[in-house]
């Protein structure tokens, strides 16, 4: 029987190490391109301040990057250590993008990051710019491949279950690579990374401006971040909307849960801006709606319906019943039955095998499931609505808030009225954590919204674990928590220290904290 405590602990551990890893990833994704921009301007104009900008932000990049690498190591092996059955069941498909990620992306970013940090004096300006570019390309390519892998978990295309090998096998690599979910998520995710890095740079630069320090340096950094951030925030939102459309197409249950749409509405469906979803009674206790909005987002039409949770569950119940047949015939095939009839019956039902497996939570043999258990299994296909509903809305709200901040910053900077609007500078400093919150919530929506599946409609999460004990998981969880907390504390300490020091940490003699620098250089005017 399934040990739910063990499954929950495994899930907590994965969620913790993955979300912890993603504290460091988005800044790497975006800051690497900001470095490319700064270094390019330096190469083109030869102005020292741009080299200093590139060098200083590289220092902060490195502090963050170190923990990205550290926590990334865990991720590479986490599937094997804690999700052994998952690894066996889908490794044939899921392993390939991970391996290609290593070959194509990790080698690139990790080889060039060494030169980025330590090779400036050894290379010509143009070659060094090439190094910065290759690092950025490598980090972003790694995001591509991991999202191809993740997109396949959401929408497992290009693969088929094989009864002989008892696992999913790849049938079409290009379908896996060009999985629409993967493509949309990739751009949404990297753009979110660009927003994160822009917020980071603009917030810290705003702080220097507030302090009246190193203004030439700070304002140029501010300008780069404002422009990059504005473009990125726009694309995050547009691509987020595209994700919504994709969900309406392939992950209908996740969409219905995010929207707390308990019943199919008449087309075009309304969008719940605010609601109090009540999972137990399968209804919302309170709703404020925008008419038609959801129909437009999810179907790009005024006449197509967006199916509601109850209607989807009714369909899933049929699939659970079909899955029982799939499971029973699979047992026969595994036992050596070679008859044509069994084979063709299995082929008819095998796309519902995953739904049959949902019953394994209640009975060892799905064929013996009671009516009540079948209904329960069908309702298990609904993730917990209130968490998704609110996480999604907070994420979107943060996205729009950041778009507004970048837009205003850009406008005021262009009009030369930045310093008169100190409230905005203060707001930017305090907003530095917001993109991280939005990113984590986004992943929460994506992955919690995938539940109860490890692989959408193929493999339930509770079957995907390793055959370990709760003691094992508690031990590893404790080790990760202790090490990660200590490392995070050290990272934050260094980050704050160097951010406060600012470009003075470069020891060029030109910046604020360096005694002996001439006054004009220390307090040079903005332009």
């Amino acid at each position: 029987m399934i040990d739910q405590t063990f499954v929950d602990l495994s899930r907590w551990q994965f969620a913790a190490v993955a979300m912890y890893h993603f504290l460091f990833v988005p800044l790497t994704l975006g800051l690497s391109w900001i470095l490319v921009i700064m270094e390019s301007v330096y190469v083109m104009t030869g102005k020292e301040v741009y080299r200093d900008m590139s060098r200083f932000w590289t220092k902060l990049f490195a502090i963050n990057f170190a923990l990205g690498v550290t926590t990334g190591l865990t991720m590479e092996f986490q599937f094997g250590t804690n999700w052994a059955y998952y690894s066996h069941y889908v490794g044939d498909v899921f392993g390939a993008p991970l391996a290609i990620e290593g070959l194509m992306a990790f080698f690139l970013e990790s080889t060039f990051v060494g030169l980025l940090l330590l090779g400036r004096d050894r290379l010509t300006k143009v070659k060094y710019l090439g190094v910065v570019f290759m690092t950025a390309l490598g980090t972003n390519l790694s995001a591509l491949w991991i999202l191809v892998a993740n997109g396949w978990m959401q929408n497992p295309v290009g693969a088929e279950f094989s009864a002989e090998t008892m696992r999913m096998e790849m049938t079409d690599f290009w379908a896996v690579l060009f999985n629409p979910v993967a493509q949309v998520k990739f751009i949404h995710t990297v753009a979110a990374g660009y927003v994160t890095a822009s917020m980071f740079v603009i917030g810290i630069s705003a702080w220097y401006i507030l302090k009246g320090r190193d203004l030439a340096f700070a304002k140029r950094s501010f300008a780069v971040a404002a422009g990059f951030g504005l473009a990125s925030a726009l694309s995050v939102i547009v691509l987020g909307d595209e994700s919504g459309y994709e969900l309406g197409d392939v992950q209908k249950m996740k969409l219905a849960a995010i929207e707390a749409e308990w019943h199919t509405q008449q087309a075009p469906a309304n969008f719940n801006v605010i609601a109090l979803p009540d999972q137990e009674n399968r209804t919302n206790r309170f709703e404020i709606q925008i008419p038609w909005a959801m129909g437009l987002i999810a179907t790009r039409s005024l006449d197509k319906e967006v199916p509601g949770i109850t209607e989807l569950v009714a369909k899933n119940e049929i699939r659970v019943r079909s899955g029982i047949t799939a499971y029973a015939t699979l047992e026969k095939l595994r036992a050596g039955d070679k008859s044509e009839a069994t084979r063709s019956l299995f082929d008819q039902h095998k796309r519902d095998l995953g739904y049959g497996l949902l019953l394994k939570r209640y009975v060892e043999d799905p064929a013996k499931a009671s009516e009540e258990q079948i209904k329960k299994a069908a309702w298990d296909s609904v993730p917990y609505v209130p968490y998704l509903f609110w996480s999604f809305r907070i994420m979107v709200g943060l996205g729009f808030a950041m778009l507004g901040m970048f837009g205003l910053s850009f406008y005021l900077l262009a009009r030369g009225r930045l310093e008169q609007n100190r409230w905005l500078l203060h707001l930017l400093v305090w907003s530095i954590p917001l993109p991280w919150l939005a990113c984590e919530l986004g992943w929460f929506v994506a992955e919690y919204g995938r539940q109860p599946w490890a692989i959408g409609e193929v493999l339930p999460t509770f079957l995907a674990t390793s055959a370990l004990t709760t003691t094992d998981i508690i031990t590893s969880m404790a080790a990760y928590l202790v090490f990660y907390s200590v490392l995070l504390a050290i990272e934050m300490y260094l980050m704050f220290r160097f951010a406060r020091l600012g470009p003075s940490s470069l020891h060029t003699g030109r910046y604020h904290h360096e005694r002996g620098a001439p006054m004009t250089a220390r307090f040079q005017p903005a332009e």
């Binding site: 502090i63 080698f107 696992r167």
Partner: protein, 383 residues
């Protein structure tokens, strides 16, 4: 040409290449990490040592990550059974590896001597522990691992928590761990003799004097022990090699000397242990003669011989099961589908040469001896 059986064999070679690549590249900086607190007597010397590998350790580590990914893609059953079976051992490896990225990058960011000394020991742990455990893991593979597969092919293990970990640390496995540690330390020392300030290079040279003897001696001892004391595994009957992978369809027996079957079938395989024995000695001689560069190549060949010996001895086994020998995972029945193996083969064919090309470019760009004077001149930007 690329039929299923051939590809299964090719992937055995490719994973071998990735693991050997890991030993040659990352093994070098792990060896350097192990030697760091001993060959560097003060902060400046230790910074010299760290900066010989500073720009490269991260790229080198990707050999391990890619090998992990490749095992996932090519042998999902092995990835599943091995990493969950060696759960706590793997946790130790990961935790030890955590010290490296932060150790390299954060150590010289603050001036406090206690801070720096602590990270130096962190880098030592980050070099020693993974090297030891990977060796121990190989030692256990040669003895068989207590796992079995249920009818849905989920792997299960004997014991849990510390009761699963302790039996892994048996004497033969510890010897294998010692071989691994010594060979990486030798490799790292050759690197330091070649790339570090002469003060450190001289110390590295004298360390090589003993390491160059320990490695072949321990390796030879391991071979004798394996011959006299460890039962191998042998396939008695099995489905065609090109069949769809089913790890429960074959019959396997344990037999004394079975790990030496390969030399009867393929005498040329003798070259592997011979290389593993002679090359560390050659590296030692070259180091004495003041040619650590060629010595480094010799040491790389030596590791290829040693890892190759273990791999070839077990062939076609990847993960022999001591509790249900028939469920042992082999090259033939733990592989991915034909299509996946084919796609991944082309991915390696295209990307590995590109990786090697820019890796060599990166090493060339940073080439030259790292001196104490250089560290002094770049104390705010160097590691």
């Amino acid at each position: 040409m690329l039929d299923y059986e051939t590809l299964k064999l090719v992937w055995w070679v490719l994973v071998g290449v990735l693991l050997i690549g890991f030993a040659i590249a990352d093994g070098m900086d792990m060896g350097v990490g192990m030697l760091l607190p001993f060959l560097g007597k003060n902060d400046a010397e230790r910074r010299v040592i760290i900066n010989t590998v500073g720009p490269h350790w991260d790229g080198n580590q990707v050999w391990l990550i890619t090998a992990g990914g490749a095992i996932f893609a090519a042998w999902p059953a092995v990835y599943a059974a091995a990493f969950s079976g060696f759960y706590l051992a793997m946790l130790l490896v990961l935790v030890a590896l955590f010290f490296r990225p932060v150790g390299f990058d954060y150590r010289s960011k603050l001036e406090n001597p206690k801070w720096r000394n602590a990270w130096d020991w962190g880098l030592f742990v980050g070099g020693l522990v993974p090297a030891l455990i990977f060796g121990v893991a190989f030692g256990n593979l040669l003895q068989g691992v207590p796992f079995h597969l249920d009818r849905f092919l989920k792997p299960h293990f004997e014991g849990s928590f510390i009761w699963a970990l302790l039996p892994l640390l048996n004497p033969f496995a510890l010897l294998a761990g010692a071989i691994s540690v010594a060979m990486l330390a030798l490799h790292g020392a050759l690197w330091l003799q070649m790339r570090a300030d002469t003060v450190i290079a001289d110390r590295a040279r004298s360390a090589i004097g003993s390491l160059g003897l320990v490695v072949p001696a321990a390796f030879a001892l391991g071979g004798i022990w394996l011959w006299l004391g460890i039962d191998g595994y042998r396939i008695v009957s099995e489905p065609a090699h090109s069949a769809l992978p089913n790890p429960l369809a074959k019959e396997v027996v344990r037999a004394a000397g079975a790990w030496f079957d390969i030399y009867a079938k393929l005498p040329v395989a003798m070259l592997l242990p011979i290389t593993g024995l002679l090359m560390p000695l050659a590296a030692r001689q070259l180091s004495r003669a003041g040619r650590p560069g060629i010595g480094f190549v010799a040491s790389s060949l030596g590791m290829t011989g040693i890892i190759g010996t273990a791999g070839a001895a077990m062939f076609p086994f990847l993960l022999p099961s001591s509790t249900q020998p028939n469920a042992s995972l082999t090259v033939w029945d733990a592989a991915s589908s034909h299509l996946t193996l084919k796609i991944m083969f082309f991915a390696v064919l295209i990307f590995l040469p590109i990786v090697l090309a820019y890796t060599l470019w990166a090493y060339r760009a940073m080439w030259g001896r790292v001196t104490l004077a250089q560290i002094e001149a770049n104390k705010h930007s160097a590691y």
